[in-house]
Subunit: 703 residues, 2 copies
Amino acid sequence: MNKDVLNGLFRPKAVAVVGASATPGKIGYTVVKNLIDSKYEGNIYPINPKASDILGLKAYPSVKDVPGFIDAAVIVVPSTLVPQAVIECGEKGVKGLIIITSGFSEVGQKDLEAQIVQSANNYGMRILGPNIVGSLSNSDKLNASFAPFLPLAGKASLVSQSGALLIAIDAATYTRKVGFDKLISIGNMADVSIADIVEWLNEDENTTCISLYIEGLKDGRHFMEASRKARKPIVALKAGVSAHGAAAAASHTGSLAGAAKVYGAAFQQAGVLQATDLDNLFDTTLALSLQPPMNGENLLIITNGGGVGVLATDAAEKYGLPLKFAPADVQAELKKHMPEFGSAKNPVDLTGMAGNEWYADSVRFSLSHPWVDGLVVLYCETAMTDPQEIAIAIHKAIQESGEKNKPVAVSFVGGERSAQAMTWLVEHGIPAYGAPDKAVNALASLREYARIKEMAHEDTSICKNENREQALKVINAARAEGRESLTEVEAKQVFTAYGLPVTTTTLAHTEDEAVQMANKIGFPVVMKIVSPDILHKSDAGGVKVNIKDEKEVREAYQAILSNAKAYKADADIHGIAIQEMAPWGTEVILGSINDPTFGPTLMFGLGGIFVEVLKDVTFRVTPVSTSQALRMLGEIRGAPILGGVRGEAPRDRKMLADTICNYSSMILDLADEISESDANPVLVYEEGKGVKVVDARIILKKK
Amino acid sequence: MNKDVLNGLFRPKAVAVVGASATPGKIGYTVVKNLIDSKYEGNIYPINPKASDILGLKAYPSVKDVPGFIDAAVIVVPSTLVPQAVIECGEKGVKGLIIITSGFSEVGQKDLEAQIVQSANNYGMRILGPNIVGSLSNSDKLNASFAPFLPLAGKASLVSQSGALLIAIDAATYTRKVGFDKLISIGNMADVSIADIVEWLNEDENTTCISLYIEGLKDGRHFMEASRKARKPIVALKAGVSAHGAAAAASHTGSLAGAAKVYGAAFQQAGVLQATDLDNLFDTTLALSLQPPMNGENLLIITNGGGVGVLATDAAEKYGLPLKFAPADVQAELKKHMPEFGSAKNPVDLTGMAGNEWYADSVRFSLSHPWVDGLVVLYCETAMTDPQEIAIAIHKAIQESGEKNKPVAVSFVGGERSAQAMTWLVEHGIPAYGAPDKAVNALASLREYARIKEMAHEDTSICKNENREQALKVINAARAEGRESLTEVEAKQVFTAYGLPVTTTTLAHTEDEAVQMANKIGFPVVMKIVSPDILHKSDAGGVKVNIKDEKEVREAYQAILSNAKAYKADADIHGIAIQEMAPWGTEVILGSINDPTFGPTLMFGLGGIFVEVLKDVTFRVTPVSTSQALRMLGEIRGAPILGGVRGEAPRDRKMLADTICNYSSMILDLADEISESDANPVLVYEEGKGVKVVDARIILKKK
């Protein structure tokens, strides 16, 4: 990120509009008018070779004719004229280009798009777009877009990959009462990426929360890095989670991964809160932009109505912040501000008799009590109270408590008077919602944000049991044969090169060699056909287990060979694998895909029926440290099984986490080589007894 | 339900206010004023012994002094005066009493409450309340409550168990633009229940959708019956789903059941849609009150913005209505109403260039095409279009299509202009929402309602393999010994009396008898200690399996006895059970609780780790027919396991369903005897090979 250039792009002191027009209805007219209407205080230079002035401003034939400096140029000329415009801006010393014009990669004109990016970068310029609505900033009084007006002012900034949605959200800020400082349309992301803007907004003094509408990232890892480093909360709505890749997957892991799961993992790892829908994006943005994180689990709810109290209690459980009863001293104090039949437990029910004073007293006391980590205040509109007075009482009590590090959210259920009181609260920095569960969910988001911040201290050191040279030797040998998948024996050799504990497996080419190897490994052994032409080994009669002595080895050798030939006469047979027969353990599966957006991504789940029927798996973008892997083990629904159930001893989670860490190193180090992989099953033994990878599969990247 | 009496209660032609007051601020004043302000057209009779007129109306000392008839009396006098007021109303021939007064069972005055109900019923009157806000009806211009005004007019009617929430919702109808015909506060439900009102609203000409806020039902089965018979959609928000009973459960099933699960099952069985939160209650009510059910799976989405189209696509998958591509002829026609770069697949993207005509043409065509079962129309506010014109175009196109049996929902994302256009749409019968996923969820609700209607034709015939006498003999014998739980042998005798296929189990009192029984059953057998004092048989060394011959029977007999004596010297030992050793099968669990609200309720789940770790179970209020049981089998996450996985043959689902049906008959027939029960494990064999109940447990009701 070049901060000076991006400052010029997003907070310009002077703006040119290349393609400005005097004809109402044209975008070149709308942009100039919007800059004027938004009361932009820098110079506005309309650029049009045929006009002398536009909307009362002097027009110039080219940016090069403008007497003063230009920070940003908004470009609206047809796509064929954009390259020349870019060159002229470069020669003028413009910093940033806001290219509204469409007709680039979105309609297949990838070369034209690459050309203007190259050209701009040569001059040290950055491009926002092309194919965008523009960029808006309340604190700069800048509407450099064809969206009709600046949004309701607020402390969050939104980046949107959909222009139409940005325009609609712009209008919706006024009805929803959720304000933004900046709205940035990002379009084709030919140059400036969402990651770049996250980095820049993290430094922007007028932004307290970064809000994103994402359809698809280009560089997932840059986005993760920028988000992880940000000191401001980030909330993202990812659209298109149901649009799974239609391509058939070559591995088990490939068939279980989808955009939703990989993006979900990446957001979690990058500390990005994921919005569930458009309403939730607004609701969460409001909370994150106005309130501090919630640094503990103790949520207190104050209400004047039992009904909404119960709904909020349900919501607290649903959103992961289950209520606890308030301690005795809290209850004793609160009892003073309610009638006999009220309740001081949690939710605290002041009853319908509650007026301004009771609200104020209980809010002030609760917020200053050390047990309380966050507060939700609910109010049901009554005939006897004035919502605006209740709002003022709540706000005043928060001020008087002196507490600045505990979040508060409010919900008023009622009509127009309540709506107005909630607008007033939001204007005074207190997020307010029309339904009790939304206020609870707002606190849950602030709690989640605090947890993310805590996780930043987690150990992220990576395992380094690498023998890259050995792995590449195996892979290159397979490629030399024109293959794009490794045999089990080869895959295990690659696994071994990265410290993964595979069952001992050697390749016998003769019956005698098989006997010798079996004796060395120790009985019983498993024998399997090894042939790139036979993928379904069991179906071909190519697997024999529990072989107990030399005689059985010889019998199995002959049987497997003859079965294989009967199955496929011209199969290329590498030999027969002689394999240690691992004792029974808890089955798990590890695997990987090379995600087009995020690169090598690891999957973990319980094996057998759990993965096949329940698809009970969890993902991580690599690298994955041992600490992070331990957390993965707890994320699946079947997690208690690793802790030991039905009288079994706990499984060796530490060794399993180490194995995940090594697996992560392997697929990251071999990112250019491995497309997909599975270790299935991996057997996990009792604590201290380790794990064994029983079967291995690697699909290579096409080269 | 006495329809005439309830008509008098909810749609009175003349109303008395007992406790009317001339003093502003008093409830007796507010109610009279509200009746006047709502322009009630029947006679209003203020009753007050000390006033001659109130708010311009002639007042009477008692209802008995009123010259004309009185249908309903609103009672606001203090609780101690209510009994006398009830008697006077009874003598006057009043039909229904709306008792606003509080101070009854909610503060422990159960006798007083029972007394007024008894007294009212003796006169043939019904009581709404006590402890309520009152009753409001737009079509009757009746505000017989202390809520400040009639709600926004609409076609749904709401029953609320929370008075405060009812008042808040009353105001919220105007800001949310969701109208109601009636708002009924139900309070303590001393007499008229939610079930009674559901039955009555089902006959009410001004109600198209019944909307419920429920904290806790009193008679669950009456509610289920009334709801099942209703010909109108019902949507319920159940509050308090997180408040699990804190009492320790005696059975496995008891520990897995909670209010949320049992209510969820009951709602599903009764055809009641369950709202997820307050917003969803409003949203679903709007859809159900205005639109027909969706009688097929084909949802078409029309949009002018790709972004909201993608969000709606995600929502469609999330809410169980995944999108399919429209057929070729639909696409071909739609392609005519969009630019080249639009998309006619599904979602149909008319692009930001879409104006009124394109919307109208594509809506009209789509709705009249036989492939389309339901339509969602999305619109992102743009600078170039007028939301109101788009709304008019959509409405006109729907009219012109002539289609009345396919639902439509709309979402406009934008500001004030869009909000106004959506209000207009709702006023014209088209549900409209501020976010695309809500419009999709509205159609999902209408689809769910259609599925519920289809299910009404399901076979509900009950299994009748009963030998009640035999079961009671076993139970009474145990009770005679002062026990409240049956031994395994006894429980299996009860199970057998209801046709449940238990493993053959007989009780041996001597070693020789054990040998004789084992020979009769056939080896191998299982032997278990039978003692009401030893609940954890395995822990006591009281179980031996896979006993293969007479010698082993004798050894096991001695070993079990001596282990049992070592474990608990004074244990009352009934003998040793000799039991058929069932071959391995898929483990499932059946069980029951006697729910305080719904009575005997059955649970089904996969056994072992599935139930212990994943709690993958499903519930049904009894009775459960074989057809209904088959549907239960498909509801658990592990359902595919019964279909056969990893090369196994499909399990005998038919016999398992029959077993569930018999189990249901048992717990329903013995509802007065059985508190909780488990059949765990039940082994399910291949199709045609049946099931076996291996272990049985029955906890008796305290008497």
